[in-house]
């Protein structure tokens, strides 16, 4: 995961208010740090250092502990994702059915590497582990839409729908 923050932080007071409400609700539960961070990511879309600092100030957990958790789990993002988040399943069932080629082709079509976001902020590309739709292998998801039994040829047309 890239830990360099490339996009300026633009959080709103409304978001902050939401976050503090969540913290107030959860903070006395045992082991609440991760649920708080998960909700914070729901609110902001990602977890920039500013948000981590807010969580630290409000919960008393040291910032380095929060940063440690944020960088340990793959679902926490320090950078925002694209408007359309593409994730290609590289689970075993998809892999043996050619998901590797799908992933490569998408990198080529979008001109980005896995884990990156296009310059216009439109698409971000990630590989994910099994989404459990092995019957449809190979599979990719664009936000919540699932595309199954994919072939390389279909990709340009699918991307076009979102452009």
């Amino acid at each position: 995961m890239s830990t360099k923050q490339t996009v300026p932080f633009t959080g709103t007071p409304q978001q902050a208010e939401q976050l503090y409400k969540v913290i107030e609700e959860l903070k006395d539960q045992p082991g609440s740090l991760m649920p708080i961070m998960q909700q914070a990511q729901e609110i902001y879309g990602y977890l920039p250092i500013q948000v981590q600092t807010m969580i630290s100030d409000a919960t008393g957990h040291p910032l380095e502990e929060i940063y440690g958790v944020a960088t340990f789990y793959s679902m926490f993002n320090l950078n925002p994702k694209g408007k359309y988040r593409i994730s290609v399943c590289l689970g075993t069932a998809c892999y043996v059915k050619g998901a590797g080629r799908i992933y490569e082709k998408l990198q080529e079509l979008l001109g980005i590497q896995g884990g990156e976001c296009t310059a216009d902020g439109k698409f971000s590309l990630d590989a994910c582990r099994c989404v459990g739709a092995c019957g449809l292998a190979p599979v990719m998801m664009i936000n919540d839409d699932v595309y199954g039994r994919l072939t390389v040829d279909e990709l340009p047309a699918i991307l076009k729908k979102y452009q």
Binding site: M34, P35, F72, M75, A93, C130, C134, V146, G148, D153
Partner: protein, 596 residues
């Protein structure tokens, strides 16, 4: 009362295939036909035949429709539900015979299966607690709380011979026994491992989506047995449907008094909370999972102390996997002898496998332990598509190994799988055919482990990376025979010295492929050739001059400008410029381009 029930699969595979729209269309057509007092459309959990989703069963007719589209709803309602004439073009092929439609239980896919953990999946509406109760739900909890002592419960589980379905196969009853000391004096916890991380395994998700109450009931039973009053389910955030149905189930169970204070007026209190994982494979390891529930980085810690002594928040804890939990209520109700009558000498009961990869019937199957791999692949799985040859079955995910054709007749149980160099794992089973390169598969799993190693201990953090580098070298045609020896040595070193199960089993994919497919490694190293035609650096694309019509499509498709030739004359590929992308082969309409 309804005369007909239409059970539409609402599992993830079928949801991805568009079952929501199918359900909406069916409901509106049923209404339009005025049948809404007679026909009930139910969204259930997984039926198992994910390959052919969205699937639906019409009861009591016992007719399975496959690959149903919203447009088909009108025909199904008008023809079948109204006039009683099943829509033959949508019926599952396998169930159609010359004499008519046979029972699903007689089809090859279902007849060899035995559904215990999955008994309610695809049968009940998982969002309605009453349907679970109607299938004997919460009766086991009632029996335990009103007629059994905690020790009797533990003895029952011990006698059943149930072993953990999450991977290592530790006897479940023994785990509970270790945690039962000092009941009522110390706080304890019961945890459910629903952090199903093995790529290619999705039975836990199917149980949670199709029958969430069974897990709640089983955890409450365990809570009574060891003296715990709080449970946690640690579930992957990647499973939104499962999380949603668990939340609904917990709310309903609380409302019915089946969770909470004084359950069945026995004085026993038990409640359950959900914790979401955040995408770390290592959190499937028990100590890492508990650390993660505590809100920290999910790193494992050395054992002892075992969780049964010092687990979650430093208190005695038992952790079982979803599929293990799904067996518990049936064992309580039917008795340990019933459960122990299924399976082999040391592996009792059934096991769910997620069948995937190069196989005709991708999906979820539950078989008695001791069934052979051949039965699973050839009969239940319906064989390999496109007339290809079976090469290997991969079980146990990144911790397991590849089983070659020579072991197709080994009865599957925990011990046999270990003896042939693989393991049960959580039950992913990926079938590979002759087009899959075993060195590439080993590299695939190593990439996974390198990615997912938490970094706490050196053998796993650095060792797996060195292994992957050697595998990369080999797949690029730069390997030497000494590399193979080094690779093997590293494998044993990492196995012996890693802190947790992730590192200890990480070399298994390499060891098992070295054991059964060493010749493929050697072909990559000595002949600089990938026999399956997968490893890019070792491939070359060539044009067959006899088949080439000189249409120039490939010239335009080639991103590297590597193809030359005059119009209507045979073309050639300049191997020094070729980037081996395969675009020319995809573009050629005459099948003139081949890779070797």
């Amino acid at each position: 009362m309804y005369r007909t029930h239409v059970l539409v699969c609402g599992g993830t595979g079928c949801t991805a295939g568009g079952c929501e729209q199918v359900i909406a269309a069916l409901e509106s057509e049923v209404k339009k036909a005025g049948l809404d007092q007679e026909v009930c459309v139910v969204k259930t959990g997984c039926h198992g035949l994910c390959e052919l989703g969205p699937v639906m069963i019409v009861y009591p007719d016992d007719i399975l429709y496959v690959m149903v589209k919203p447009e088909d709803a009108a025909e199904i309602v008008q023809e079948h539900l109204l006039k009683g004439r099943p829509v033959s073009r949508l019926i599952y092929d396998e169930s159609v015979t010359a004499e008519g439609v046979k029972s699903l239980n007689d089809t090859a896919f279902y007849s060899k299966q035995k559904r215990v953990a999955l008994r309610n999946c695809g049968v009940i509406d998982p969002e309605k607690i009453d349907e679970y109760i109607a299938r004997d739900g919460y009766q086991a909890l009632g029996k335990v709380l009103t007629t059994m002592t905690p020790d009797e419960v533990i003895q029952t589980i011990l006698d059943s011979g149930l072993r953990g379905r999450g991977g290592a196969g530790f006897p479940t009853g023994l785990k509970w026994k270790f945690a039962c000391a000092n009941r009522g004096q110390v706080e304890k916890y019961v945890c459910c491992n629903a952090d199903e991380g093995d790529p290619g395994a999705f039975m836990d998700r199917s149980v949670l989506e199709g029958d969430p109450h069974v897990v709640l009931e089983a955890m409450a039973i365990a809570g009574y047995a060891i003296g715990a009053n709080q449970g946690y389910i640690y579930v992957r955030a990647e499973y939104p449907i499962a999380v949603q149905r668990l939340k609904i189930a917990i709310d309903q169970a609380r409302e019915y008094g089946l969770l909470g204070k004084n359950i069945f007026e026995s004085g026993f209190d038990f409640d359950i909370d959900i914790r979401l994982g955040a995408g770390a494979f290592v959190c499937g390891e028990e100590t890492a999972l508990m650390t993660s529930i505590e809100g920290k980085r999910g790193e494992p810690r050395p054992r002892p102390p075992f969780p049964a002594v010092k687990g979650l928040f430093g208190k005695p804890t038992i952790l079982n996997n979803v599929e293990t939990w799904a067996n518990i209520p049936q064992i309580i109700l039917n008795g340990p002898e019933w459960f122990a009558s299924m399976g082999t000498e040391k592996s009792k009961g059934t096991k769910v496998f997620a069948l995937g990869g190069k196989i005709n019937n991708t999906g979820l199957v539950e078989i008695p332990m001791g069934t052979t791999l051949r039965t699973i692949v050839e009969e239940i799985g319906g064989g390999i598509p496109n007339g290809k040859k079976f090469k290997a079955a991969q079980t146990g995910g990144p911790s397991g190994g590849c089983i070659p054709a020579e072991h197709l007749d080994v009865p599957i149980d925990y011990d046999n799988l270990i003896a042939i160099g693989s393991m049960m794992g959580s039950g992913g089973m990926i079938i590979m055919d002759e087009d899959n390169c075993m060195v590439d598969i080993a590299k695939f799993f190593l990439e996974f482990t390198v990615d997912e190693s938490c970094g706490k201990c050196t053998p796993c953090r650095i060792g797996t990376r060195r292994m992957m580098e050697i595998l990369e070298k080999i797949t690029e045609g730069k390997g030497t025979l000494e590399d193979l020896d080094k690779l093997e040595k590293l494998c044993y070193h990492i196995k012996e010295n890693s802190l947790c199960g992730l590192g200890q089993t990480a070399p298994n994919p390499v060891l098992s492929t070295l054991r059964y497919f060493r010749h493929e490694y050697v072909a990559h190293i000595v002949e600089k050739r990938c026999p399956a035609g997968v490893c890019k650096a070792l491939l070359s694309y060539t044009i067959d001059p006899d088949k080439c019509r000189g249409c120039t499509v490939c010239v335009r498709a080639c991103p590297a400008g590597a193809i030359t030739g005059a119009v209507k004359k045979a073309h050639v590929i300049d191997q020094s410029k070729c980037v081996k992308c395969g675009a020319c082969m995809d573009a050629c309409k005459f099948g003139a381009i081949s890779k070797k």
